[in-house]
């Protein structure tokens, strides 16, 4: 029988044998017995397969490099080393990296956050705000260098000189980028009473999935969600869809497209104005024509029933309208106002002179007062009658009985 050794000695020998042998292993298995991150910041759980399991330790420092969340049943490949804890007679796998199997780590992180934010309603179409049609001042949250900011500026200024861009410089990739973007968005909202931005474009140019990652992070998603100013996201190329894109009020496929969506073309605005111009004139002319028709009808119906009184009222009315029209002609906006001029000419056709030309006449007494009632005319009185063309004097013989 060999000499006995102590438990400690045995453990020491086991540790000595095992640890160098398994100092660098890659193991694939399923996470189990996951109870979240321990208050120490580390994770203690198991890695298992059908036949066995091993304790798994992920230190906080390793954990902080992971973007996805661990959970039971998640299949992962762990690289790391074996650690023998002699005090408790246990051996564990200490992870250096944790890689989800199948989908990549970023993909998984994306999916997990995506599901969570979706459940919270951050992507709901119903909460998306309308973009202002004619923004005057636009905040652009992006890197001050690089192609994206240039594309946005060039495109916006080419479409419309009548716009102000406020470039808010942020880091768009790497450590801390997401927090910077989120902070910038919050700050713009906080001071917007002063700034009066109508719209924010947040984005960057194309890059690898890792480069774009800041726009997949929760702080950015929440800042966009909470922004009172509508946000257009413009991240990477057409094919890249980030969490920021899903939360934004509108996703532009590229920074250039964002500027195209945000800024209306001046030429289009000019066309709209020209059309309004035309429609205003046309509508007024139409209204005047309708009225002319009515007055004509009225005039002919009045032919037999003491028309002068009414004609006089219409005369006043037309004088008033004529003044209005003259004012309009003086106030004309642009060319194309021939419409108003022709309208004026047509209204003139309704003046009392024209009425006289249709066969009516006006009779005045010797003092120049208009006679409206046959009883005003006494036998022997001199009267003057104005016709469509010229006047003549006559003497009253007596009433028609």
């Amino acid at each position: 029988m060999a000499d006995s050794i102590t438990v400690s000695e045995l453990s020491r020998q086991i540790k000595q044998h095992l640890e160098p042998r398994f100092a660098n292993v890659a193991v694939t298995g399923e996470i189990s017995n996951y109870r979240g991150v321990h208050h120490s910041g580390h994770v203690y759980c198991n890695l298992k397969d059908d036949g066995a399991q091993i304790r798994l330790i992920i230190w906080g420092s390793t954990l902080s490099r992971q973007r996805f969340e661990l959970k039971d049943g998640l299949e992962v490949t762990i690289t790391g080393k074996l650690d023998v804890y002699a005090r408790r007679g246990e051996y564990s796998l200490v992870a250096t990296t944790v890689t989800p199997k199948g989908t990549g780590a970023l993909q998984l992180a994306f999916q997990q956050m995506h599901d969570r934010l979706q459940a919270e309603g951050l992507f709901d179409a119903a909460r998306k705000r309308n973009l202002p049609q004619y923004p005057r001042r636009i905040g652009v949250v992006t890197s001050p260098t690089g192609a994206a900011v240039r594309d946005i500026i060039t495109t916006a200024c080419r479409r419309n000189r009548n716009v102000e861009l406020f470039i808010v410089p942020v880091k768009v990739q790497g450590e801390g980028a997401a927090l910077e973007i989120a902070k910038a968005l919050r700050w713009l909202n906080a001071v917007n009473d002063h700034l009066a931005l109508d719209l924010i474009i947040a984005g960057r140019g194309g890059g690898s999935l890792e480069d774009l990652w800041a726009f997949n992070e929760e702080p950015v998603a929440r800042a966009i969600f909470e922004s009172a100013i509508p946000v257009i996201s413009a991240v990477g190329h057409e094919v890249d869809v980030t969490i920021a894109d899903l939360v934004a009020d509108l996703r532009a496929p590229t920074p250039t497209a964002a500027a195209e969506i945000a800024v209306p073309e001046l030429a289009v605005m000019e066309e709209a104005c020209a059309e309004f111009d035309l429609r205003l004139h046309r509508a007024l002319r139409h209204t005047a024509e309708v009225w002319r028709g009515r007055l004509d009808t009225l005039a002919s119906r009045l032919a037999g029933v003491g028309p002068l009184n009414l004609l006089r009222r219409e005369q006043q009315r037309l004088d008033y309208l004529w003044e209005g029209l003259t004012r309009q002609v003086k106030h004309r906006v642009q060319s194309g106002n021939e419409l108003v001029a022709s309208l004026a000419a047509r209204l003139e056709g309704l003046s009392p002179v024209a009425v006289l030309q249709r066969g009516y006449s006006i009779t005045f007494d010797d003092t120049g007062k208009v006679l409206r009632d046959a009883s005003q005319a006494k036998a022997g009185q001199r009267i003057r009658t104005r016709l469509g063309k010229g006047e003549f004097n006559s003497r009253v013989e007596g009433p028609v009985s």
Binding site: P132, Q133, Y134, R136, R137, S143, P144, T145, G146, V149, R150, I153, C157, N160, R161, N162, E164, L165, F166, I167, V168, P169, V170, K171, V172, G176, E180, K183, A184, W187, V191, H194, L195, A196, L266, M269, E270, A272, C273, F276, D277, R279, L280, A283, L284, H286, T287, A288, V290, W291, Y320, L321, G324, L325, R327, Q328, H331, R332, V333, Q334
Partner: protein, 100 residues
């Protein structure tokens, strides 16, 4: 640093284009709707033309402005933005991290 006025950041003045367009459209709706008395039609027309004239005024307005907007001691600061100039600076100089 003394709190100084930053005239660049005063909110844009004048009426918004969309509001003016809405006024024109309202006048048009009334006019095109048909049977306005002629006096009212003229009044509406006049309103429409007035708003439209302001629209044209906006379209004629000056140059686009591109400014770099940063926070300094809680205050918004602006300076003209020059994309080329920014690009040619050393990365440390224009790292957004210093600004935010």
């Amino acid at each position: 640093m003394a709190r100084k006025n930053n005239p660049e950041i005063t909110p844009p003045t004048g009426e918004r284009f969309e509001n003016l367009v809405a006024s024109v459209e309202e006048a048009l709706r009334a006019l095109e709707g048909g049977e306005l008395p002629l006096e009212d039609a003229l009044k509406r027309y006049e309103e429409g033309v007035k708003a439209l004239r302001k629209c044209y005024g906006i379209l004629k307005q000056a140059e686009a402005r591109v400014l770099l907007l940063t926070e300094q001691n809680g205050q918004a600061q602006t300076r003209p933005f020059d994309a080329e100039g920014e690009t040619h600076k050393a990365p440390e100089e224009n790292a957004g991290g210093k600004l935010f």
